[in-house]
Symmetry: C2
Subunit: 132 residues, 2 copies
């Protein structure tokens, strides 16, 4: 896996591209997504891909998934994460027990982003099912 | 810090936004940046912000920085990273010793993304200076 970064606009914005030339732009958070926000987004995306795959295998009818991620950082440098909480909203005919199992499988077994993070970061979760 | 994710296009693309409504789109790597690529991009962005700040404090004239990041993942689930290498190209009147110090300070002390990663991941680096 390979990515490249180059700068734009006075070294304050970063154009990042993958091998297929798909890209994202990072910035300081006010103008453009910050790198730490990018990490949380990558975590949410990775876990959502798992959730969709796992719930489909469990024969649950997932229509949509939304995720809100809140995180706390250390007060001093390095301002790494201390706590991350993922709140999933699952839309579809999904059993509560299956949703919990899927979340646990993602965060503990499959999610490559979650499992690339420092073990000292407490990763929590909650979910809501909207059956429509 | 808070981000949200919602899906688009048959649950295969993920629109992620931060509190200021800045966003990125994630996908499977072929169509859209994958979450694991997103993590590497966040790492490159975070370290580049450090590098620019540190080199300026060291009174080095940085005109531009480019970064190429290569990474290896485990063969089996969870396919987390095992090795990450950041190759910096620094453009400007920058002393080699200062560049190495800045990279070390970033990856070992300041980079919030690098220091949120699992300690088992080997993070390496190299750099080239183009003095123009």
């Amino acid at each position: 896996m390979k990515i490249t970064l180059h700068t734009a606009q006075n070294l304050e914005r970063f154009i990042c591209t993958n091998a297929n030339n798909n890209g994202i732009i990072l910035g300081n958070g006010k103008e453009g997504v910050s790198p730490m926000e990018g990490l949380l987004m990558s975590l949410a995306g990775c876990s959502t891909i798992d959730m969709i795959m796992i719930l489909k295998k469990m024969r649950q009818e997932v229509k949509d998934i939304k995720v809100e991620v809140k995180a706390k950082r250390k007060d001093n440098d390095p301002r790494s994460f201390t706590k991350i909480k993922l709140c999933y909203t699952i839309i579809g005919k999904v059993k509560s027990k299956k949703a919990q199992e899927a979340i646990d499988l993602s965060l503990e077994k499959y999610c490559s982003v979650a499992l690339s993070l420092d073990k000292s970061i407490k990763i929590g979760s909650s979910f809501t099912i909207i059956k429509n």
